[in-house]
Amino acid sequence: MIKTAARLAAIRQEKQAALAKEKQRVLICAGTGCVANGSLKVYEELCKAVAEKGLSISVELESEENHSACSSEKNTAPGIAIKKSGCHGFCEKGPLVRIEPEGTLYVGVRPEDVADIATALAKKEVVERLLYRHPNTQETFALEEEIPFYRQQMRVALGNCGVIDPENIWEYIVKDGYAALAKALTEMSPEEVCNSVIESGLRGRGGGGFPTGRKWLLTRQAAGKQKYVICNGDEGDPGAFMDRSAMEGDPHRVIEGMIIAGYAIGADQGYVYMRAEYPLAVHRMQKALDDARGQGLLGEDILGSGFDFDITIMEGAGAFVCGEESALMASIEGKRGMPRPKPPFPAESGLWGCPTLINNVETFANIPPILIKGPAWFRGIGSSSSPGTKTFAITGEVANTGLIEVPMGKTLREIVFDIGGGIRNNGKFKAVQIGGPSGGCLTAEHLDLPLDFDSLRQVGAMIGSGGLVVMDEKTCIVEVARFFMNFTQNESCGKCVLCREGTRRMLGILQRIVDGEGALEDLDALQEIGEAVQEGSLCGLGKTAPNPVLTTMKYFREEYLAHVVEHRCPAGVCQGLKQYVIDPDKCKGCSKCARVCPVGAISGKVKEPFVIDPEKCIKCGACMEACRFGAVEEVA
C-alpha cells in the first residue's frame, strides 16, 4: 500500500532506476486491432526467440519492497525487455512492433518474421523489409517518428498508449502516473483543481465541447451530499475506437482523471460505463481498478489524504443511445436506457437524482497532464477556442487507417493527405463523414477548414467523438446517408416521436432512392422531416440524426438529383440503379445469358445479338458472369 504522496514519488524513482536495466524495450501492440491480426502470437514467438538467444531481461516491478534486488536473467548485458502495449494507432499496418530507445517501427509483423527480428536485435541491426514503406514514393522509414502518419501527431491523451504495458500499474507510475493525483490531493484545494481545468480551456471530448472545468465547478457547487463521477466509455459510432484504445492502452490514466474529478467535485463514487462489446477494455480497466485499489490509490483514504473514492465498472448492453448521458444514467440505475428531457442537467440532478459529473474517456485522460504540466501548457496546444489535442479514428478509403491524435485546429487536408496518406489506390477525394452518425459530411471545399469544435459546427458538422470516414469518388453519397440513417433508426430508443418516426420515414425514402424508385418530391420530404427532427427531437441522438442526410443533400445535391430524376447512380454503387446491357458488337448470339437468366429478361435469336429487357431484369448479374465474350456490361 502506498500511503503518502512522498512514498509514491520515492517508489517512482526506485522503479525508474530498476527499469534502467532494460537496455532495449520491444513493444508489441496488443490493441484489439493488432490482436485480431495475430500480435499475441508474435509476442510469444519473440519472447521465445529472444530468450533462446539469451538476450532477454525481465525487470520485476510487481513487488514494492524488493525493488533493489530486482530479478533478472543471468545474462544482463543486452537486456531486451519484451512487452505487450496498448494501441500504437497505425492499425492499418498491424501487427506493429516498436523498439526503444531507437524508435524503430516494424509493420505487418507475422510470427515468421520473428526470427529475423531476434537476429537483428542481437546484431543491433534493422530488418529493412519490415519497415514502413510509403505506398507512393516507396521510401522506407526506420523511425516511427519520421513516418508521415506519426510526424504531425501529438500524443497527450494517448501519451502512454503503445509505450507502456497497460496491465502493469508500475509502468504507469514510472511515467509520472498518479503524480497528478498526488499533487491535487496534497497541494491543491478542490476549487483550485476546478480552476486549473477551467484555465486549461479543456472542452468535453465526447462531442458536445462543453467547457470541462465549468462542468466540474457547477457539479461541485450543486447542492447535495452524495455526488457521482461517471466516465462515459459507451463509444458506439461506427468506425470509432478512440475511447476503446485509451482504456485498453492506458487505463490508469482514465482512472486517475476520474479520481481527481471526484476530489474536485466532492464525490466518493465513480462509474465507468463501458460497452460490453469491448471485452479487452473491460478486462484492462478492471485489472487497473483492482491494482490501484491494491496500492491504496483507490478506495478509502487515498494517499493518506482522507479522501475516499471508488470506481465501479458498468457494462452496457449494446445500445448506442446509452452514450447519451441521461440514457446512460438511466441504464446504470437499471432502467431502460432512454434519454429524459433536460433540464435538470446531470450537474444538478443526475444519477439517482444526485449531482453527477459525466465526462468522456478522452476528457479524463487529459486531466493528469494538465495538472502536472499546468493549464498554460495545455492552452498552448491547439486553437484558442479549442485548446489541446483531439484523437480521431480515421477509416474508409484513406491509405493509412488508424488512430491518431493531433492538435486541435489541424486542417482536414493535413489529416487526410499528410497523416492519412491520401486516398487509397490513388483515388480521388470526395468527402469525409466526421462525427459518425451524428456528424456531417465535409467536402473538398472544406479541406482547409481547421478542425475544432466551433468551425465544424458552423458548417453543419460536429467533431463528435472523433470518427472520420474518408470517402473517394467511388462512394455513393446517398448510400452513405442511407447507411447512417439506418444506423440511427435502429439505435433510436424510440421514445420521442420525431426521432422514432422521422428517422424511420427518412430511411424509407432513402431506401427508395437507392433502390431507384425515388422521385423529386422525396428530396423535399427528406429536407422537411430532417429539419423537424433536428429542431424538435428530445435528445442529442435525434437532434443530430439528420445531419448526414442534410449535409450531403447540401453539398451533393447533384448526386441526389441524378438518383431521383435521371435514376442514375453516378458512383455506380446503387444496385437498384444499375442496368445491364449487351454490347451487340461483342455478342456472338450463343444464348447462354438467356438460359441463365432467372426471370427470362433476355431474348434474341441464336447467332444474333441478344437484348436485355430492363423492365424484367432484376440485376442479379448472372448473365454477366455467364458471358464468355464480355458482352454483358454494367452501366450506371
Binding site: 430508443c493 420521442c496 416521436v497 420525431l498 428517422t503 424509407g508 422531416i529 424538435g536 427531437s537
Partner: protein, 669 residues
Amino acid sequence: MAGTMIVDGKPVELNGEKNILEVARKAGVELPTFCYHSELSVYGACRMCLVELGNGQIVAGCSTPPRPGLEVKTTTPRVQKIRKMALELMLANHDRDCTTCEKNGNCKLQDLAHRFGIRQVRFGQRDIKVDIDDSSPALVRDPNKCILCGDCVRVCQEIQGIGVLDFAHRGSEMTVTPAFGKEMAEVDCVNCGQCAAVCPTGALVVKSQVEEVWQALHDPQKTVIVQIAPAVRVAVGETFGLEPGENTLGKLTAALRQMGFDKIFDTSFAADLTVMEEGTEFLTRLKNGENLPQFTSCCPAWVKYTEQYCPEMLDHLSTCRSPQQMFGSLAKKYYAKELNIKPGDMVVVSIMPCTAKKFEAQRPEFVTEGAQDVDFVLTTQEVVQMIRESGLDYPNLESDSLDMPFGFTSGGGIIFGVTGGVSEAVLRAAHYLLLGEELDQVNFTEVRGTEGLREAEIDVGGTKVRLAIVYGLAQAKHLLEELKAGRADYHLVEVMACPSGCVGGAGQPVGTNAEIRSARAQGIYTADKAQQLRKSYQNPLIEAVYEKWLGEPNGEAAHTALHTTYSERRRIQGDSISLGEDGEAKQVEVAVCVGTCCYLKGSYDVLQDLGRRLRGAHLEEDVDLKATFCFENCGSGINVKVGDTLYSGISPAKTGFIFDKITEALQSK
C-alpha cells in the same frame, strides 16, 4: 417561483407553475400535448408542446421550468411546422380506421389532427398489423393504435406501483407490452383501467359489454335488473353537456327504464349492507385485537393486488364482498326466488365507474346455482353509449324513481363513491353497532380530502381508532411496506385504486382530470346531504333484508351470501415451455424458472446443464424438463421445481443437487 414571464408578448405572473406548459395555460394558450399529465412524471416524448424562446431556442413546454423574464412564443412558424410534422409522422404509423374505433370522437390524436388541419399524410399507411389483445375481461389493447406516448406505462408504474406495461425494443420496433410479450390476462394487471383512462388514442379501451346487455334486454325469457353505483350518477351528465358532479340519478333511471330494464336499483343500498357487515366485522376484530389493521375490500383492483403482492396479509382484508357482489348475491340467491324465477333467468347488470368490476363479476367464487351473481358490468362510458344509441335527450329526461326492494339508500351508501367514503360510512355506524346508541355526529370530515394518503384518529365508544385512507396502489404499496416494517400502525385502512376513489374510476367519461374528479366528489357529498337518512343502519330496507333473509350481521346466512375468501395469486400466468419431445411417458416434471430474477442468476445455464445431464443419463424420456415463468419466490432464486417440491437458492454450480433429486424422484416412482 415568483416574477413575470412573457407568453406571446403578454406578461404572465408566475405563481409556482411547474413548467412553461402550465404558464401558457394560465395565459389562455392550451399547448397541444399527448404525454403531459400533471399527476405523472414529465416524459417529454410527443414533442407537441414545443415553444420558441426569445433567443430562438426551441424547447418542450412540459419539461422546461419557467423563470422570470423568460420570453416564450407558442405559435411561431418553426414550432407549427414541427408540430404538424410530428402529427403527420404519428398518423403515418397509426391505424387510421377512425370510424370504427372505440375512441372515435374522444380521441386526442383525432382532435389534434383536426385542430392542426392535417389534411394529408404523405408517409403512407401503417404497414404491419399486430394482433389485438382482448384477453382481459376489462380492457382491450390494440397496439396498432398506440402512439407510444408512455402515458399508460407511467400511470401503471407511478400511480398504481405495478408496471404491467413497459416499452420493449428500440427505434421503430418499439412497442408497449406486458412482460414477456404475454397477454394482459396472463400478467399482474389489476384491471383498474387507469391506462385506458389516460390513453390518448384507441390503443387501450374499456372492453364493452353493451351488445350482451342489449341481447339480454331483447330476450323475453330474461328478467334484467340493474344496479347503479354511487359514482356513476355524478358523472353521466358530463357527456351530455351537464356540469361534472351534477347528480342525474333520476334521468339515468328514466333512461334505463326506457331501454327496457325490468328493475332499476341502487348499489348504494348494497353499500349500506356492506357497512353493516364490514362495520360489525371490524368491531369484532377490534375487540379481539385480531387481523388488524382491517383492509377494506370494496375495490377489486386492490383485492387482486393484495392477492398477488401481499398474500401474507390476506387475512387483513375484510371478508366482505364488495357492494356490487353483495347486490348480485342477494339478487340471485333471494330476490330471484321472490320473483319465482331461476337464477339463470335473471340477468344482473351493474353500471359502474370501474373496469375492475368486470373482472370481479367473473371471479369464480361469485356464483349462485351455476349462474354468475353479476352477469354484465357496464361502465359509465358504456351506459352513455346505450343512451346515445337509444336516441334519448338525456338532459331533458323527466326523472324517474328507483324500484324496491333495493332502491333506497342512506347517505352512507352514497359516499362509497369517493375516497374516504367507506371509512366515513363505517364511522357513522360504528357507535351504533358497538353500543346500540345513536350518535349525533354525521360528518367525519377528517377522512375526506384529495391527498393520496390521509390519516385520522376517531374515538369510537372510548377506543381511539386510527384510520388510513389511501388511493392509488403505489401509495398503498408504500403503506404496506410501512406496516410490515412496523413504522405505521392503524386499525382500519381504506384503499381505492383510482385517484379520488370511484369518482375517478377508469370507466367514467373520457377526459377525467383532477378538477372534474373533485366536482364529482362534491356531487357525491351533496347527494349525501340531500338524503333524509345518512347512516346505513337507519336504512329501513337493510333492516328488512336482515329480517327477511339474512338474520343478523356476520351471522351464518349473511356470511354465506355476503362474504368471501381470498387466495394467493400468481402474477404471471400462462403455459410453461416444454423442452423435451411431446407424447412420451414422462414420469417426473422438472420446471426451471426463467423469469427475470432467476434468469439473471443463471437459470438458463441450470436449464441447459440439466438437459445435458438428463441426455447423458438417457433420462430425457422419463423427465419432462420445462422452462417456466416465476414461482413467486424471486428473492430466493434460482427456483427449480422437481415434481411437487420447490427447491430455491439453486445456482448453476448446484445443478448436480437437482439432478440427484430428479433421480430420487424417478426411483420412488
